[in-house]
Symmetry: C2
Subunit: 110 residues, 2 copies
DNA sequence: GTCATGCTTAGCCATGTGGCGAAGTATCGC
DNA sequence: GCGATACTTCGCCACATGGCTAAGCATGAC
């Protein structure tokens, strides 16, 4: 849909419960595709699609050693969400603060 | 997809750029469907789908007065994301802290 | 070499999503 | 009442998503 929308890709990746389970598990440290797949009741090929989706969103990185592919969580990517949230809050809190000030302390103005 | 997955619904809602624009705009205060639609280059019926998606995710509430439907942001719903993020971070930071402590301060003091 | 293991690729399918135009309904302003 | 305004409903369509089975390929164990 969107051509270059990193934040959107991250949100889309997090929208799926299966993928949030993976993120959660990877929070405890790297794991192989097989280990991760054991936590969900779907077939491996289906599971691999989720892994690829997570990798394309940038939330995880993977690398293959021998026949085992290991997945690692990229926390910086999760920070993208945090930043967006913080920015939105900053904007509407700025506005709220001004209203608050007028209500709670009329002397305090700009 | 998921039967009852509030967090997933919120993430899915935020995955679309159009809907993030709406959220952003509503951060500045309530607005009518028409006002909101003016910010994006799609037809009204298409836009309405986004409004409904946002409402079903719980991120906004809407009410109709006369022929105008007014949308309001529900910040508590956004907090759902914040909470999830905080919880995940709490988990893996707990682990990291323990490692950090061993590396940076073997004596383990306050 | 042979067999098990651990992905990986290649279809296929049902459903969901996001866009459209056309036409309908319910106020509001005059 | 009549026209403009502000949605709203109704198909319809292309493509994305998430699941499956079956078969393939590379590596590790023996």
């Amino acid at each position: 849909m969107a051509k270059h929308d990193p934040l959107g890709d991250v949100f889309a990746a997090l929208a799926d419960p299966t993928r949030r389970i993976v993120i959660h598990r990877l929070g405890a440290g790297p794991a192989s595709v097989g280990e991760l797949a054991a936590d969900v009741p779907i077939t491996l090929p289906s599971f691999m699609k989720h892994v690829r989706a997570l990798e394309e969103s940038g939330l995880i990185t993977t690398s293959k050693t021998g026949r085992v592919r290991t997945c690692v969580l990229d926390r910086d990517r999760l920070a993208l969400v945090d930043d967006w949230l913080a920015e939105e809050r900053r904007l509407w809190e700025g506005r709220t603060d001004r209203l608050e000030r007028l209500v709670t302390d009329p002397r305090e103005h700009a």
